[in-house]
């Protein structure tokens, strides 16, 4: 069934599903963790961060209020942020929420704005952003979202699947951007992918 907008409850469901997907891939993400410190805890850190956000959203009860849901996502991930990747995730969510909270329903143009804001917020929170990491994949997803919005795409299934594909394509190229990744023959983190999963 084609749909063109997400309401508060649907956003909650998507968010919870994304968090579950992240947790399910936690060990695999831990194995990919080679930059900046190869301590193998990225998956764990991101899972803890997003679960804190999920809990805060679930504590709201069965609400459709986009503002409350976005605030909960943002403050929950801030509170529960662990590790560099957790902080990045909390910043992505913070930026996304700043746009999403002002709308009752999220359409493709609004999602493109929200993804842009997420990426801008994340990039601004560090003095020297490094390409070939989460940032690169997030930016690619946001740029693709903007492109699809400009093209007038309204169907969310099409939107999400194209954004996800772009994120995965760029993810595959990250070893060429970050030498240490190439050395380890590894790849970077799939934060955006889990955002888009539904």
């Amino acid at each position: 069934m084609a749909s063109s907008a997400i309401d508060g409850r649907q956003l909650t469901a998507l968010f919870i599903a994304g968090a579950a997907n992240l947790e399910a891939n936690k060990d695999w993400i831990n194995e990919l963790n080679v930059f900046p410190v190869p301590d193998g805890d990225t998956g764990t850190n991101m899972t803890l961060t997003i679960k804190s956000a999920v809990k805060e959203v679930q504590d709201l009860g069965n609400t459709d209020n986009m503002k409350d849901i976005c605030k909960a996502m943002s403050s929950g991930s801030l509170r529960g942020a662990r590790g560099n990747s957790g902080v990045i995730l909390s910043q992505l969510i913070r930026g996304f929420s700043k746009v999403a909270r002002d709308h009752d329903k999220l359409t493709v143009p609004i999602l493109a704005d929200a993804f842009d804001r997420a990426v801008v917020t994340a990039y601004k929170a560090v003095m020297k952003p490094k390409e070939g990491t989460i940032l690169t994949v997030a930016k690619a997803a946001a740029d693709k979202s903007r492109e699809l919005a400009d093209q007038g795409v309204t169907d969310l299934d099409e939107f999400f699947s194209q954004v996800l594909k772009e994120a995965e394509d760029v993810l595959a190229k990250t070893p060429d951007m970050l030498p240490v990744l190439k050395e380890a023959r590894a790849s970077s983190i799939r934060a955006e992918r889990d955002w888009c999963s539904s």
Partner: protein
């Protein structure tokens, strides 16, 4: 400028603490949530600048008699980040990078959050 020494079987190796501070600074550059170093970006930190010259980039490195390092970071964080997570991350990243690159052991890392800056 203070220096630290360690002996090898063929001679002495001396690493200037400024070099260690630079490694530490490069780690802070990549730490999410840190948007500046106090003493470098804040215009009203002249008192600190004048007091100790190694504060110029907000990082002070001291070497103990046992050749162990203590590193102080004076940072500015962005508003809306988890300060504890940012600090923990800085500590573990610095420890890894400095110990890996210099072979010197770090005894203590102190983080002073001197300010908060709105980035959004």
């Amino acid at each position: 400028m203070k220096t630290s020494l360690f002996d090898t079987h063929k001679g002495n190796v001396s690493v200037d603490t400024e070099v260690i501070a630079q490694y530490a600074a490069s780690v802070a550059d990549g730490c999410f949530g840190i948007v500046g170093m106090a003493g470098m970006n804040t215009k009203d930190d002249i008192a600190n600048l004048l007091k100790r010259e190694s504060m110029a980039n907000g990082i002070n490195v001291a070497v103990s008699s046992k050749k162990k390092l203590t590193i102080d970071f004076h940072v500015i964080v962005s508003y809306g980040v988890n300060i504890v997570a940012v600090s923990d991350n800085l500590v573990s990243s610095v420890r890894y990078k400095v110990e890996e690159c210099t072979g010197l052991e770090i005894e203590r890392i102190n983080i002073f959050v001197e300010g908060v800056r709105r980035i959004d």
